[in-house]
Amino acid sequence: MNNLFQNTHYHNRKNSILQRLHLDLTLLLLLIGLSSLGILILMSSGYEDMGLLQRQATRLGVAFFAMFMVAQIPPHILKILAPWLFFLGTLLLLGVLLFGDMGKGAQRWLDLGFFRFQPSELLKLATPMMVAWYFAERRLPPSAKHIFIVTLFIAIPTILIAKQPDLGTAILIACSGLAVLFLAGISWKIIIGVTAGAAAMTPVLWNFLKEYQQQRVLTFLSPEEDPLGAGYHIIQSKIAIGSGGLYGKGWMNGSQARLEFLPESSTDFIFAVFSEEFGLIGCIGLLLIYLFIFIRSIYIATQAQDTFSRLLAGSLSLTFFIYLFVNVGMVSGILPVVGVPLPLVSYGGTSMVTLLIGFGILMSIHTHRKLLSS
């Protein structure tokens, strides 16, 4: 822990190569460690498919490069970009709704001819940036009027993405925006009031959900009702985790995944594969890595020098852990299955790039601080 909270001595900064590259060593090591572990799990869950591993490694390379590039951009430039990125992302979301490709029954992709792109990924970053930008020049804690405006900034992309429908991403984006609102100091009265109101509104929200989303919630509540249909995922996933026991079955020895009982074992359900093979001990270790990353990130937030950086860094830290919580929660059966990957481990490209760009922003915030005058 000491290592994580280690105070960088300012007089060292100029000398450090990493500092000049605008990289944070602690975060970098944790992220590299986590994604390497991800490759190992993918080897087992993907049945040693070398092509799959190669693609994942390439994506990781691209994502780390993107992280590095973003880390070079100073926070005040990011602040200037924030509203533009947000409006561009919102426009693209509308474009997806009107012209998007259907992928797996949901409109998420925008085909720009030369490459396919998910605007919702952009908004994962642009939304907290926008909210942080809005609060940057205003007095905090925010007034009711500002809270209302910010709520609109959060609600627009959330609703547009929920309509695609991509409930998982919508939840993450709402979380990232609300995290900024929380860190900006929105009063506890409002938080409690809105939470109570939302609870009362649940039946209305229920009708707003698409049928397959309702089905997922129902299945979550009682997966045994439909063991071969919608409940199959969650039952098989719990079997995988539970049968892992304390020490696990060993790497490449998880029968649930290797015999194809576990669906989506390389993507959303990869945590079940890990649990089966490495047991509770391994799970605690893996979750600790995530926790350390979160702690290092929130530490960076507290060290940030301006409101925009602080709020954005805090939001990115929390969203990262929420990502993990939703994924592990759904795989282990305490949350409904909403389609959120395990960050930096699940097979798949776009979310990984977005996540690492987020960490690039954190590194930029941490390494572009000005020397304090004595």
């Binding site: 539970g242 047991g279 282990s332």
Partner: protein
Amino acid sequence: MKTSFDLKSAAQENQLFLSRSITLIVFVFLLFFSLIARLAYLQIETHEKYANLAQNNRVKLSVISPIRGLIYDTKGRVLAENIPSYSLELIPEQIKDIGATIKQLSDLLPISEREIKSFKRQRKQQKRFASIPLRNRLNETEVALFAAKRHLFPGVDIQANPLRHYPFPELTSHVVGYVAAINEEELKRIDPVNYRGSRFIGKTGVEKTFEHELHGSVGYQQTENTAQGRSIKVLTYAPPLSGNNLTLNIDIALQKTAYDALGDYTGAIVAVDTQTGAVRALVSKPGFDSNLFSQGIDHVSYDALQKSSKRPMFNRVLRGQYPPGSTLKPFLALAGLDYGVIKPAQRVMCPGFYQLPKHSHKYRDWKKSGHGLTDIHDSIVQSCDVYYYTLAHELEIDRMHHFLSRFGFGKRTGIDLNDEASGLLPSREWKKRTRQKSWYPGETLIAGIGQGFNLTTPLQLAHATAVLANKGSAFRPSLVAKIDDTLSPIKPTLAIELNKDAHWETIINAMSDVVNSARGTARLISKGAAYKIAGKTGTAQVFSIKQDEEYDEENVREHLKDHALFIAYAPVKEPQLAIAVIVENGGHGGSVAAPIARAIFDHYIKTSP
């Protein structure tokens, strides 16, 4: 001023942010520990349950059904075999659009609505990766047709399943019997483990009686399987044990001779080897196509078989109970001699009818003018009824019952086949028990000519004839000669000792003259025979002729005509084969039933060493 305010405000904001960050850290720790708690619950608290479930997922136990034993005739010709049957099967999981696939398949092969319905029903009951038959019994052309286009149909394939096949379906339908799909009643009776892979079970005949021998023992293997049901490796393997092959005593060529000899008549024929009890022919006609059942008979064909007035499904040899008529006379004559009621030379006057003392009722002889003075020899040769009215009156029913039961009348012969009927040998005690009435003397007279309450199965008649041929000693009729290489034991029946052995000769001489004398009722069949046959004709009334009424053969409807009976054995000196023939509504035993027996003897005595 402004700067100080900003500085103150900035410090406040900083403070606020720090406190909110700490709240967030606490919140994240809560989430972290709730995840750990959940994982600990799954991986430690309920680990055993999920470990079992994973094991069940992984290991699949599949049964391997044993191969059913074959059935041969006495000369090694196959009577029941297993042939591959090709069925077109679909694995729903591997097919994108089942409706379209079925449509394309039905363009290629004829597939009926009924088959599609049955497929859809089975699909609901089976797992996604199970192979479900869409069409059964593809012929070779259809197999070839599909094979050529198989690459167009992923998830569709042809499976070969063993199917029971009977090369002589009509001939053996009442001996070998048939197998068909296991029904619910049988499910309760059978060992569910041993029958896990079996679809068929013996329903009648040898297939049913020897089900246990024929079925064999189930094998199994445990394989590690994927979720799609693909097996990765075999963990344990216990091979199935094939059923035992059976060799029957039946000679299928002789069986065919007998079957053909019946012509268009319905009836029953049994031929028993007098030296062993081996049943060489067992014919109940009409038979039916037993292959229909193993292939899965449809309702229309089944109803047709059930409703046919000729009752093809009815095993006449085992379950047909006929009045023995005059074929009972040799046995009664023997009773008379043994009890000393009559002497061989003693003669009885036959005026064409018989009257009980002090009764006016006339018991008629078949010959209206009567036979005149008749001794025991002539009573058999010419089948004089009056002689037997007299004899029965003297013997009385108790002694008749006792003596005839020693020949096996009224009880099952114990043949190695299920569902044998016991026939009926009436007695005072029987009548009291079943009808709550006392025995009338007139009923004794009727019993004396094998009518009235008397009922015998063709098998009982054949067996009794064998006993007579062997002068008291005989063997239980048996169908199965060998189970695999183990010979079935020959079981002698309780030997009959008479007071005088000469009585046998008296009766046998008379029976020989039934065939071989110029006045015998079956003299027709002696012509050109290289050996001597001893026999007795019989005619069994299907309905009773009223007092003073003539039996008008011409005007009696076909199904009310008398049954023609004939019992015989040959050669007289060294008996080999005893036969009972019953031709339903055939009329006279001598003219219709006896020639059938002759054809069988000719075949048998010519071909046996």
